[in-house]
């Protein structure tokens, strides 16, 4: 009896030591929605290839992610792998020495230069996060309502607003959108519907080069679309949260929903019958542009307790298997790697196919413009929400953004 228990004890100690040695790779992320997918699909798939490595996905709600991550990085308690926001936010972490250089690491070779742009130094020489996925913006529409009212999927802005008026006349909410949380006003509305106005990358790069101003007509036109959309939002939209908008659309009470492709998963789960169309262009036959935003990357914490395993996981993130799983299981996130992947979800496939006809651009202010004070992202949330609420004229919004931008950005001060 006695020997048995001693042996048990010894075994337990050995086991404990074993796990301590192998350690656990902790992943920091803001994707709370995907927690189950990581735990049930992605991590088991990795472990099949790499037995013995423990991986834990520990997301923080998106609103708290950046601040609590900063605190944990400063305090040295952050996880081994860090999900990277694109551009300036992660660049700041890298400059502070809180992300490792990833040049030449296994898996990085599988990504095109266009994907790596979001996570490299300004000179393009050093990469610090592996690109994971992009998201595409457009509109979702309720197929049932469109059929009932005999509406066609709109191609031009005139068609779009005409269709919305019909939905309104039929007593439904035309656009499921609110401004309580504010971020949608910029991320799924302005940079979504505006790309056609400022001609995608051309407009964005002209701003960075100092050759265009926000007060130029092509940018004001974007806010003008917002001011027309405002009255088409539901009653009480100023206090409607993102979740409210999702619910409104999912319950079939609204005609269209300005979407990020990540929303597909939610509406699928709710059993909705919906389709997608790209933001309408000004005139029939115009070149179309879509917001196709490099959104998620993955970097390594220099203070990682388990760096070797973290790099093994990172290498797997660059593999065909991950690209396939991520694109098809975490519906609405599109892998940025060179691997050929067939997208199964019909709406996701539809959105991905826009790339064939429309030109892709990233969110307007994502690169460089977010660096100064006042912070342009926050300003854009604010003015775009106010334009939607009818509290601010499109011109005023443009003036406010431009003056904040010119305040700190030399090329705009000429």
């Amino acid at each position: 009896m006695r020997t048995l228990s001693t042996r048990h004890l010894l075994l337990a100690t050995l086991l404990a030591a074993g796990t301590a040695q192998a350690g656990t790779v902790n992943i920091e992320s803001w994707r709370v929605d995907d927690k189950a997918l990581w735990e049930e699909v992605l991590i088991p798939a990795f472990q099949k290839k790499n037995p013995g490595i423990q991986v834990k996905f520990t997301p923080t709600a998106p609103t708290e992610y950046d601040s609590s991550l900063t605190a944990r990085l400063t305090g040295g308690t952050a996880g081994d792998l860090i999900t990277c926001r694109p551009f300036d936010k992660s660049l700041d972490l890298f400059k502070k020495g809180q992300l490792e250089k990833l040049d030449g690491k296994a898996g990085m070779e599988n990504f095109p230069a266009s994907a790596k742009v979001a996570w490299q130094t300004d000179d393009g020489k050093t990469a610090y996060c592996m690109p994971m996925a992009s998201v595409i913006h457009g509109y979702f529409y309720n197929k049932k309502i469109f059929k009932e009212l005999n509406l066609q999927v709109p191609k031009t802005q005139a068609e779009f607003f005409a269709a919305m008026e019909k939905i309104k006349a039929a007593g439904k909410t035309p656009i499921a959108l609110g401004t309580a949380d504010q971020w949608e006003s910029n991320q799924t509305v302005l940079t979504n519907v505006g790309a056609n106005s400022w001609k995608g990358e051309d407009g964005r790069k002209a701003l960075i080069a100092g050759k265009a101003k926000f007060t130029d007509p092509q940018f004001v036109a974007a806010w003008e679309q917002l001011s027309k959309m405002g009255p088409l939002m539901g009653k009480g939209a100023s206090a409607q949260t993102y979740a409210d908008s999702q619910n409104l659309f999912a319950m079939g009470k609204a005609g269209v929903y300005p979407a990020g492709s990540w929303d597909i998963a939610y509406f699928n789960k709710e059993g909705m019958d919906f389709g997608a169309f790209p933001p309408p262009v000004a005139k029939a036959g115009d070149q179309c542009y879509i917001s196709d935003h490099t959104d998620i990357g993955m970097g390594v914490n220099p203070k990682a307790k388990n760096k070797a395993d973290a790099y093994k996981f990172l290498a797997w993130l660059g593999s065909q298997e991950f690209a396939d799983l991520y694109t098809n299981k975490v519906t609405g996130f599109f892998s940025l790697s060179n691997h050929l992947i067939s997208v199964q979800d019909p709406v996701a496939k539809q959105m991905l196919d826009w790339r064939k006809t429309c030109k892709s651009t990233i969110r307007l202010n994502a690169q460089i413009m977010n660096r100064g004070t006042p912070a342009m992202e926050n300003e854009l949330w604010n003015v775009s929400s106010q334009v939607l609420n009818g509290k601010m004229a499109p011109k005023e919004a443009a003036v406010q953004i431009q003056s904040g931008f010119a305040k700190w950005y030399a090329p705009q001060q000429k």
Partner: protein, 279 residues
């Protein structure tokens, strides 16, 4: 002695006002509780109706219990709150006694030094606190929370308790000293029992912010094993925000334990508050 000052008519008015306000205080809580037990369709169609046989639904609770560790969170909150409370009361009373009883150099300065803690939110020092907790290797432990909450609660405790100790008649202490009783014995056997009502007041005032804090659990102990109820609920809602059944169930689960504890202890709690009137 008990005379009814309010006349019948004005008594009615008083009851109207108090009753009305009580309804206002209870309505939101009742609303959440009753909708938590309904189907999603019923929640939206008729939010003001009580659950009926057709609309009764426990899916929200099942999901919350399956997807989060509610009992664990609750235990964590309870542990942290009780431990902080014990330390605050003991150390606070000891310091209050020393500051109000003994004359020594730096007495006033020390009192003011402690007072500053009432005015400044400890949250302003978060980054330094985090670094310190990391150095002490206490990250993701309940101990870290207890230490920070104790530091946060001590100033108010010292202030309130000092006022009370100052009111204790000198004769009591002097009598004990004449009998040759040691200072520690005087404190623990004479003073502590006398300031019990004040201790109850302090307990209430320090307990509420500790139990409800979101900030420090988020920064110092966000790990799954150390999450408190407030943080757990907040994270859960963040994850299932569109799923109203689950959200309402999570809110109810956060509220119900407080309701139970409150219904058990409300008399002591309110007696503590009122008898420990701060002068």
């Amino acid at each position: 002695m008990k005379k009814n000052i309010c006349k019948p008519l004005s008594a009615f008015g008083v009851h109207c006002m108090l009753g009305g306000y009580t309804l206002l205080a209870l309505f939101p809580i009742v609303l959440i509780l009753m909708n938590a037990f309904k189907t999603k369709a019923a929640i939206f169609d008729n939010p003001l109706a009580f659950p009926t046989a057709e609309t009764f639904f426990l899916g929200g609770f099942e999901k919350v219990i399956a997807k989060s560790h509610f009992m664990l969170y609750f235990g964590n909150s309870l542990t942290v709150t009780l431990a902080s409370l014990a330390l605050i009361l003991l150390f606070g009373a000891m310091a209050a006694w020393a500051l109000s009883e003994y004359k020594f150099r730096g007495n006033r300065i020390l009192a003011i030094y402690m007072m500053i803690g009432i005015m400044v939110p400890i949250r302003l020092g978060t980054v330094s606190i985090l670094e310190l907790i990391v150095q002490l290797n206490l990250i993701n432990t309940l101990t870290a929370l207890v230490l920070v909450y104790t530091a946060q609660g001590l100033p108010l405790a010292v202030m309130i308790l000092s006022e009370f100790i100052a009111q204790i008649p000198k004769e009591l202490k002097e009598a004990a000293r004449c009998d040759g009783v040691g200072e520690f014995k005087i404190f623990f056997q004479v003073i502590l029992p006398l300031i019990r009502p004040a201790v109850a007041t302090v307990a209430v005032f320090t307990m509420i912010p500790v139990w409800n804090d979101l900030w420090f659990p988020l920064i110092l102990a966000p790990g799954e094993e150390t999450q408190t109820v407030t943080l757990g609920v907040q994270q859960f809602i963040g994850q299932y925000v569109t799923d109203w059944n689950s959200v309402l169930a999570a809110l109810s689960l956060a509220v119900i334990p407080v309701l139970i504890l409150y219904s058990i202890f409300s008399r002591q709690l309110i007696r503590g508050l009122t008898s420990g009137a701060v002068k």
